[in-house]
């Protein structure tokens, strides 16, 4: 019998098994490595909340303009000076034939003045739809269709 044999040999093994813990730590390390550039960029903003919002799966080709709670602009997660935004948007959208959507990630407490300024720059660059990135209010579900209407994004 194995059990009786082992107990006579050396007694109970008191060393904790650290292998699962090491596995979890490695996964956490990977997660933090992925999220670190996002945190390091300094983009701090709380998205506005909504209930009847549209699902828009992320696409690497999307143009995302962020405005953090200090009013700093971020174009595709890179910080950009406010007077350089217009030129950068012009360059992107003049070469873009696919769709003219700009995803706007702006802090919920920003004044509309700032948002209007961003939308005005987008309009001049040829953007047709500004998609305001929002978050579902916790515990709610959309009462209308959450699918983007066909052709609505063009």
């Amino acid at each position: 019998m194995a059990i009786s044999a082992s107990s006579t040999q050396g007694g109970v093994n008191a060393n904790p098994n650290v292998t699962p813990m090491a596995d979890v730590m490695l996964v956490l390390l990977i997660i933090f490595m992925i999220t670190a550039p996002l945190i390091a960029s300094g983009f701090v903003a709380t998205m506005p909340e909504g209930i009847n919002i549209i699902k828009a799966p992320e696409d690497p080709d999307d143009v995302v303009l962020g405005i953090d709670n200090q009013g700093t602009y971020f174009l595709n997660t890179h910080k950009i000076a406010s007077d350089a935004v217009q030129g950068a948007l012009n360059a992107i959208y003049s070469a873009r034939t696919k769709d003219k959507i700009l995803y706007l990630k702006a802090d919920r407490r920003l004044k509309m003045e700032k948002i209007q300024e961003a939308i005005e720059m987008a309009r001049k660059a040829g953007v047709r739809v500004v998609s305001a990135v929002t978050e579902q209010t916790t515990g709610t579900q959309s009462t209308v269709s959450a699918e983007r209407p066909k052709g609505g994004g063009q």
């Binding site: 019998m1 909504g50 919002i53 209007q116 939308i119 309009r123 500004v130």
Partner: protein, 142 residues
């Protein structure tokens, strides 16, 4: 019981221990399940094409105004923010075009406008336009 006393036997167990590997895969699965469920949500706002000449306001269009003090008005008629959804539903249930313009004061927070669009979408509005603020319009003209 030859297997149980394997240590004493001659046969060496050559299968790799895949349990930690499965643990890692399960954790990754959970992470991806979370990230997929919180995929991006948006509200679309149409941006008007620049008009050269002065535009003639359409008498049938609906404009929701959010004033500096937070009060709201639909086509200059004051409306209670809590009854906004009901009022918009009454208007849009009989209208073929589901278009709403929003004119917000520059000092209002962004959340107010998104909140109004959200309520309006729940009331059946499908297309949203944002009226340019007076300051932005003046800047664009000058």
């Amino acid at each position: 019981m030859s297997m149980d006393t394997g240590g004493g036997g001659s046969a060496m167990k050559s299968e790799p221990n895949i349990t930690p590997f499965i643990d890692v895969l399960l954790v990754l699965l959970v992470i991806f399940m979370i990230t997929v469920s919180v995929s991006r949500r948006v509200l679309d706002i149409q941006v008007p094409v620049q008009n050269k000449g002065p535009t003639k306001p359409d008498p049938n269009q609906i404009i929701l105004e959010i004033k500096a003090d937070g009060s709201m008005a639909i086509n200059t008629q004051p409306v209670d923010p809590s009854g906004l959804g009901q009022r918009l539903y009454e208007i849009y249930s009989v209208r073929p075009d589901k278009l709403l313009f929003i004119k917000a004061d520059d000092s209002r927070p962004y959340q107010d406008v998104i909140g109004a669009i959200d309520v309006a979408r729940g009331a059946g509005v499908q297309v949203f336009g944002l009226a340019p603020s007076t300051a932005a319009a003046a800047k664009a003209g000058g």
